[in-house]
Amino acid sequence: MEELVNLFHGFAVALQPFNIMVMLVGIVLGVVIGVLPGLGGANGVAILLPLTFSMPPTSAIIMLSCIYWGALFGGAITSILFNIPGEPWSVATTFDGYPMAQQGKAGEALTAAFTSSFVGALFAVIMITLVAPLVANFALQFGPAEKFAVYFLAFCSFVGLSKEPPFKTIAAMMMGFALAAVGLDSITGQLRLTFGFTELLNGFDFLIAVIGLFGIGEILLTMEEGLNFRGGNAKINLRVVLQTWKTLPTYWMTSLRSCVIGCWMGITPAGATPASFMSYGITKRVAKNGHNFGNGEIEGVIAPETAAHAAGTAALLPMLSLGVPGSPTAAVLLGGLLIWGLQPGPMLFVEQKEFVWGLIASMYLGNLVGLVVVLTCVPIFAAILRVPFSIIAPLILVLCAIGAYSVHSSTFDVMLMLIFGVLGYLLKKCNYPLAPLVLAIVLGDKAEEAFRQSLLGSQGSLGVFFSNGLVSTIMVFGLIALFWSAVQQGYTRLRAAVA
C-alpha cells in the first residue's frame, strides 16, 4: 500500500500547472521528432537535454520522458502513411499499417496504433507501479547466454512469418547479418569489411538502411506503377477514431498478449525492437486472421505497437533501479539523471521518492496527454494522403534525405540511403522479403556479441545455452518456433505433391 500513497503523492507533483505545461511541450516536440525519420528519440532527447538544466529535476525528467512518449507515438505516423519507420520498433508496424493506409484506412490504422501504444504503455506503467522492486531483479538473471537466447527466439519466431519460401527469408536474413558485421568487431577490437573507408567504421546504420529500403524503395515501386498513390479516399473526420475504438475491444486477447511480451522484453535488456517483431510474429501465428497478415489487418498494427510501447516503458525500470538503460533513449535519460545529481540504481527508489514517483505519475499523465494530442491530429495526418503523389513524393524524398543525414551528420549516409533504396526496389521485384533483412541488421551484431560473450565465458562450449532453466526454456521456444513453420510447410508441400 505504501506504493499507492507514494503514487498519489507523485500525481500531486505531476499535476502542478508548470509540470502539465512541460508535459504538453514535451509531447509535441516528441511527435515532431518521431515524425522526422533519423532524428529518433535518442537524438531528440540528447539535443533538448540542455534546455532542461534550469528546471527542477522532476520537471526536467517529465519533459524528457514526454519527448520520449511523443517520439514513440510519432514513429508510427510515418510508418503507416509512407512505409518509413522512424524508429527500429516501428518497422513491424509498417507490415500491415501501410497496406491499410493504401486501402484508404489510414485513419483506422493510426487510431489503432495510437490507442494500442497507449494501452501498452499503461499496462507497463501499472506493472512498474506494482512490482517494481521485484521485477528489477529479474533483469539481473540475464547474462550473455540468456540475451542471445532472446535474440534467437526473435529470429526464429520470424522465419516462419514470411509468406515467401523459407529459403528466400533466410537468404534475406543472411544478407542482413553480413551488413551487420561491417564495422568494429566489439569482441576482438578489429575492423571488419570496411575496406579502408572511414565512413564505414560505424558499420551500416539501421536507420539509413530502413529509410532507403522502405522509403525510397516504396517510392520507386509506386513510380513504376504509374504515379498512383493509393489511399486518396482516406476519411478525414474524427468519427473514424470513435468507429475504430468500437472495434478495438474485440482484439483484447492480442492486446493482452502483446502487453505481456512487451513488458517481458523491456525488462530483460532486449528492448522494444525484438518485442514488436516477436509480438507481430506470434500474433500472426495464433490470430484468426493471421493468414491475411501483411494485407492490412488491424491486428497486425495493434500487436507490434502495443508490445513496442510496453517494452519502451518497461525499459525505464531497469534504468531507474539498476542504472542499465534498456534503449538508446533511456541511455540519454540516464545521462540526464546524473547531471541533476541523481544516481540511478538500487538506492534511487529509497532516497529520491518524490522524483521516482513523480516520474511514474507523469508516465500515466504523459501518455494520456499524448494520446489526446495525437488522436486529435489523426484527420490531419490522414489528409496528407490526399495530396497528389507528384507533390508528396519529392517531399518524402527530402524528408528521407534529411533523416539519413541527421543520423550522423554525414552526406555519405544520404548516398548510402539511395543505394539501399535501389536494393530495396530490386529485392521487392524479386519477391525477397525485406523484414528479415532489417531484423538481421538491427539485432545481428547484438546477437553475435551475446553469442561470442557466452562462448568466451563457457570456454567454447555450446552447452552454455542449455545450462540453466531460464536459458534452456527460451532456446527450446526458439527451436519450436523455427521448426514448427518448417514442418508445416514441408507437410503442405508433401500433401500437394501427393495430390
Binding site: P50, L140, G143, Q190, L201, V324, G335, I339, Y405, G457
Partner: protein
C-alpha cells in the same frame, strides 16, 4: 557550417538563453561549437561532455551554443578522423578517453594525437577492482588466491570494449599476479557492473561512476584502486565507507597504476588565441558547483593541465600505451 545543420538548428533553440557575457580572450567562437564525443551516448565521456554543455548553457559561459555530437564508430576512430580532417576549423573540439591511444594502435586507423591541437586535461578517471558483495573475498589477496587456485581461464573479468583500457588493466593484473582471466568485453560500463551484480562475471575494473550505484546498493564491493594513492573523497558513500577508504592496489601487492585521460583537443592548426579561449572557458566550467558535484559523484582525480605540460603528459602516456599494448599483443599487425 554545412555539417549537422539540423542538429545545430535544434540546439540553437535549446540554447536561446545562452547569450551575453563577454569572454576575456580576444578570439571568440562565431558559430555554434561542435563538441565531438568519440564514444556512444550514455557512457562516461558522453556524460562528461553533456555535463559541460549543460554548465556552459546554464551559466552563459559562451555566446554561441555548444552541440554535443557522438561519433563512436570504430572505437571512436570516426570522431578522431572527423576532427583531424577539420583542419583550421576552430569550432570543433573533442573530448578524449584512452581510445585516443588505443584505437590507432589496435586498429591501424591513420590517426595520432599529434594530428590534433591539445587544449586541456580536465580530469583523470580512476579504475577500481570490483567483486560481487556476496562473494567471500574482502581483500585483493583473497581474490588473487582464488584466481590462482582456479583452473586457468575459468575466472571471468568483464570490461568495456576490446583492446581498450579495461582489457589493458586486466592483462597487467595477470602479469603482476601470474594469473589468467577470461576477459569478456561489453558495450558499456554500466552493463558490466550489472553483469557483475548478476554473477555472470567474477570481477570488473569499472570506473567509480559506473559502479557507485551498485556499491551503495550493497551489491558490489571495491577491493582496490589502480592509482598511486587512495582517492581524495572522504565523504561516506556506502556502509560508512568513503572512496578514500579504498586502498591503492599497489599497497595491496598488486603493482599496477592506470588513470584515464579526460581531456580536450581541438582541430589541427588552431591559433594560440583560439586555444586560450577554450582553456579559459574550461577554467570557468571547473569553478562551477555543478562541476565539483560531478567530480565528486564520479570520484575523479581533478588534475588540470594545459599547454606544454599537457602535451608532455600525453606523449609519455602514449609511449606507455605502446609498451602496454605491445606486451599484451594488442598491436595492429596490418592485417
Amino acid at each position: 557550417m554545412t555539417r549537422s545543420v539540423l542538429l545545430v538548428a535544434l540546439a540553437s533553440v535549446s540554447a536561446l538563453c545562452a547569450s551575453g557575457v563577454a569572454a576575456s580572450a580576444t578570439w571568440e567562437p562565431l558559430r555554434p561549437v561542435e563538441f565531438i564525443v568519440p564514444a556512444g551516448t550514455g557512457g562516461g565521456a558522453d556524460q562528461m561532455a553533456r555535463t559541460i554543455q549543460g554548465i556552459i548553457t546554464k551559466h552563459n559561459l559562451m555566446k554561441q551554443p555548444m552541440v554535443v555530437i557522438n561519433k563512436s564508430g570504430g572505437a571512436g576512430g570516426e570522431g578522431f578522423i572527423d576532427v583531424k580532417s577539420s583542419s583550421g576549423n576552430p569550432h570543433k573540439i573533442i573530448i578524449t578517453l584512452s581510445n585516443l591511444f588505443t584505437t590507432p594502435l589496435a586498429t591501424g586507423i591513420p590517426f595520432s594525437w599529434k594530428d590534433l591541437t591539445p587544449v586541456a586535461m580536465l580530469a583523470l578517471d580512476e579504475f577500481v577492482l570490483w567483486v560481487n558483495a556476496d562473494k567471500p573475498y574482502n581483500t585483493v589477496k583473497d581474490y588473487v588466491d582464488v584466481v590462482k587456485k582456479s583452473p586457468a581461464g575459468t575466472i571471468k573479468m568483464g570490461g568495456t570494449g576490446s583492446k581498450q583500457e579495461d582489457q589493458i588493466i586486466t592483462v597487467a593484473v595477470e602479469k603482476a599476479t601470474g594469473t589468467k582471466f577470461t576477459y569478456i568485453p561489453y558495450k558499456g560500463g554500466g552493463e558490466v557492473a550489472v553483469q557483475l551484480v548478476g554473477n555472470h562475471i567474477d570481477s570488473s575494473v569499472n570506473n567509480p561512476i559506473e559502479a557507485v550505484a551498485q556499491w551503495r546498493g550493497g551489491k558490489l564491493r571495491p577491493l582496490c584502486v589502480f592509482d598511486g594513492k587512495p582517492m581524495a573523497y572522504d565523504e561516506p558513500v556506502a556502509d560508512g565507507k568513503a572512496w578514500k577508504d579504498i586502498p591503492s592496489c599497489k599497497s595491496q601487492g598488486l603493482d599496477m597504476e592506470y588513470l584515464m585521460l579526460r581531456g580536450i583537443f581541438m582541430s589541427p592548426k588552431a591559433t594560440k588565441e583560439q586555444v586560450d579561449y577554450y582553456i579559459d572557458l574550461f577554467k570557468k566550467v571547473r569553478e562551477t558547483s555543478e562541476w565539483r558535484d560531478f567530480m565528486k559523484s564520479g570520484a575523479f582525480n581533478t588534475t588540470f593541465m594545459t599547454g606544454a605540460d599537457y602535451a608532455k603528459w600525453v606523449e609519455v602516456e602514449e609511449k606507455r600505451h605502446q609498451v602496454l599494448m605491445k606486451e599484451a599483443g594488442f598491436l595492429n599487425t596490418g592485417n
